[in-house]
């Protein structure tokens, strides 16, 4: 088992194009990450196979292929098995965290999220993400 590799390549997959752009700008700024974007699950999966990312930032509710399905495909393919998946959603449900755990998702980001939460989510363990305020707790 390789240890957690530092995260370099990030793939953002969200059908909300207006969100993808500022997210990409933020992650690109500072030059720490290489960022690719896709606007649906299918495109995201194809781009991931061509250039496997270290981390995929995936919206849960997308048409055709939703975030869970994309996560399963990424983890089911040898080329992208190591890709860490962070999901984003505006919908909180009681079993969200449990589901995320069982689907092998690294982190759930609840929209709207703080910059600090984003940084923490895209940092490998031990990379020392900048401390941020505690995210709003959801019961």
């Amino acid at each position: 088992m390789p240890g957690p590799a530092p995260i370099k390549k990030i793939l953002i997959v969200d059908d909300e194009r207006d969100l993808v752009e500022p997210l990409a700008m933020r992650l690109t700024a500072g030059g720490r990450f290489e960022v690719a974007v896709a606007f649906d699950g299918d495109e995201g999966f194809r781009k991931a196979l061509i250039s496997p990312p270290d981390l995929a930032l995936v919206d849960l509710s997308m048409p055709e292929m939703d975030g869970w399905e994309l996560c399963r495909r990424l983890h089911g393919n040898p080329r992208t098995r190591q890709t860490r998946v962070v999901v984003m959603t505006a919908w909180v449900s009681a079993d969200l965290e449990k589901r995320a755990l069982s689907e092998g998702v690294t982190k759930v980001l609840l929209k709207p999220f703080e910059d600090a939460e984003l940084w923490a989510a895209v940092s490998a363990p031990g990379e020392g993400a900048p401390p941020g305020r505690t995210p709003n707790r959801d019961f």
Binding site: E16, L19, P112, N136, R137, F139
Partner: protein, 488 residues
């Protein structure tokens, strides 16, 4: 065991009275013993009935002071429920049958009587009467109203329950037209006005019966007023629950749907604010900062909405365990203090050396304390005090500011939704959502505590809440995950 039968004979012929006396006493020595008393006129018979107790009346229909069936009617009126056997002459057989139809138990033809027949008739009359009374007691004792209506729609009989139900006397009901349609078939509902302010709901079922040889209808009427009220209350509760669920669902959907566009605005404004899209002028900086603040405010509002809706509908996940209250309070307060270092407000502690563990959901209590500290900061002039005290069953936490305090007329709805005080020193910029205290009240309620507000002595507001002390067993369970109660 010897059984005595007390017989009253009303007969104006002394010879016949003697004869009857003889017949009746033939049976002496058996288990039944007859005691016969006689009267020679209807009036003296009625007098005896008034004075003494009898089991049965034998009466001639033809008396000096009364003739025919009239005699029977008067005897029965005097002694209702007492069996009557009428004595008829040879040519009066029809009168005898008529007498039975009018309530006599039997008739005897005077010139055909012998001892056996007499005693047989008495025994038969007593038994027939007993059966009749038994049936009557069933009907009279029934808690349901029973009304017998003849084919002309006239009430022929009503039991006491029916009289009570309709609020009428026997004369007001029996012998009059029945006011309701007594149609056999499905149960129907009656609205009965049984008095000036007594409205009852009743359920009526009708059966076809025979009454005194004629087809009639038996209406059985049950008071369902209480049941109906209960059902109405149940229906109301169901409806209210349904509306609540719809409201929760709507609120939840709206709040969630708003989150996606909000997250986009937040990301875009954040990009501008952090100069990721190029440098900003001072005016632009200011405008973007204002947009950013209000995005955060809207986010808080949405999150509070969702929190409150989950708390109110008891869908909130609660994870109660034994928690060190001092550690929790210090951690939360320090967090708030660090975040407000720029403010000219001092945070003071008044904490005991130690405090027992409390049985609460730590994250929830942190949220409450955070709310109260935010509130206090908004109104404080120079200081915010956090005090912890121990009561026998609870740990009491107070957050005291030195602001203007709470106007007396605001205490009652302070913890209601969207109530915000317009206290003069309310800071600009940060605005509350008006939900913080409502959420706090729900959370403290779920954690079996109390929360209230008072004005601090001197000046300022003081918000207090209690946290229940954890039982020893709860502390031992601390290691197990999810040992706390769950509200789901």
């Amino acid at each position: 065991m010897e059984q005595r039968v007390r017989v009253l004979l009303i007969e104006d012929d002394p010879d016949y009275t003697l004869l009857m006396n003889m017949y009746i006493n033939e049976a002496c020595g058996e288990t039944l013993r007859y005691v016969l008393e006689s009267a020679d006129s209807l009036q003296s018979g009625l007098d005896l009935l008034a004075r003494e107790e009898f089991d049965i009346v034998l009466t001639d229909l033809m008396l000096p002071d009364s003739r025919g069936l009239e005699t029977l009617v008067k005897v029965r009126a005097k002694a209702p429920g007492l069996p009557v056997v009428v004595l008829t002459n040879i040519d009066q057989e029809d009168a005898g049958l008529e007498a039975i139809a009018r309530g006599a138990q039997d008739f005897l033809s005077k010139n055909r009587v012998d001892g056996l027949r007499l005693r047989h008739s008495i025994g038969f009359a007593l038994e027939r009467n007993r059966l009749f009374r038994q049936m009557e007691s069933l009907v009279d004792g029934s808690p349901d109203g029973m009304v017998i209506v003849d084919r002309d729609g006239m009430v022929r009989y009503a039991n006491p329950a029916a009289l009570a139900l309709f609020g009428k006397t026997k004369d007001q009901l029996v012998g009059r037209l029945f006011e309701h349609d007594a149609e056999p078939g499905r149960a129907i509902e009656l609205a009965i006005s049984a008095g000036p302010d007594r409205r009852l709901s009743a359920e009526m079922r009708v059966a076809e019966i025979e009454w005194r040889g004629y087809p009639a209808r038996l209406a059985s009427i049950r008071d369902v007023t209480e049941l109906k009220k209960l059902e109405e209350v149940r229906a109301e509760v169901r409806e209210r629950t349904r509306m609540d669920q719809m409201k929760d669902q709507l609120l939840s959907t709206v709040a969630h749907e708003l989150r996606t566009p909000l997250s986009i605005i937040k990301a875009v404004v954040g990009t501008l604010r952090d100069h990721l899209a190029g440098p900003l002028s001072a005016d632009q900086e200011e405008l973007i900062a204002s947009a950013d603040r209000n995005i955060n405010r809207l986010t808080r509002l949405l999150n509070n909405f969702l929190d409150l809706s989950r708390l109110e509908s008891r869908r909130a996940r609660v994870n109660r365990r034994a928690v060190d209250p001092l550690e929790l309070i210090r951690e939360v307060t320090e967090g708030v203090r660090m975040a407000n270092r720029g403010r000219n407000v001092v945070f003071l502690y008044d904490l005991p050396e130690s405090a027992p563990n409390v049985h609460v959901d730590a994250d929830m209590i942190a949220q409450v304390l955070g709310n109260l500290l935010d509130n206090a900061l908004r109104y404080a002039r120079a200081r915010v005090l956090v005090r912890v005290a121990r009561t026998p069953e609870a740990v009491e936490v107070s957050v005291v500011d030195d602001g203007p305090g709470i106007p007396p007329d605001k205490f009652s709805d302070l913890f209601n939704k969207f109530v915000q005080l317009d206290r003069p020193r309310g800071g600009s910029g940060y605005k509350g959502t008006g939900l913080g205290l409502a959420i706090s009240r729900e959370i403290i309620g779920i954690n079996d505590g109390k929360i209230w507000a008072e004005n601090a002595s001197g000046r300022g507001a003081c918000f207090r809440f209690t946290l229940p002390i954890a039982a020893a067993s709860a502390e031992e369970r601390q290691e197990e995950p999810h040992a706390g109660a769950s509200a789901d």
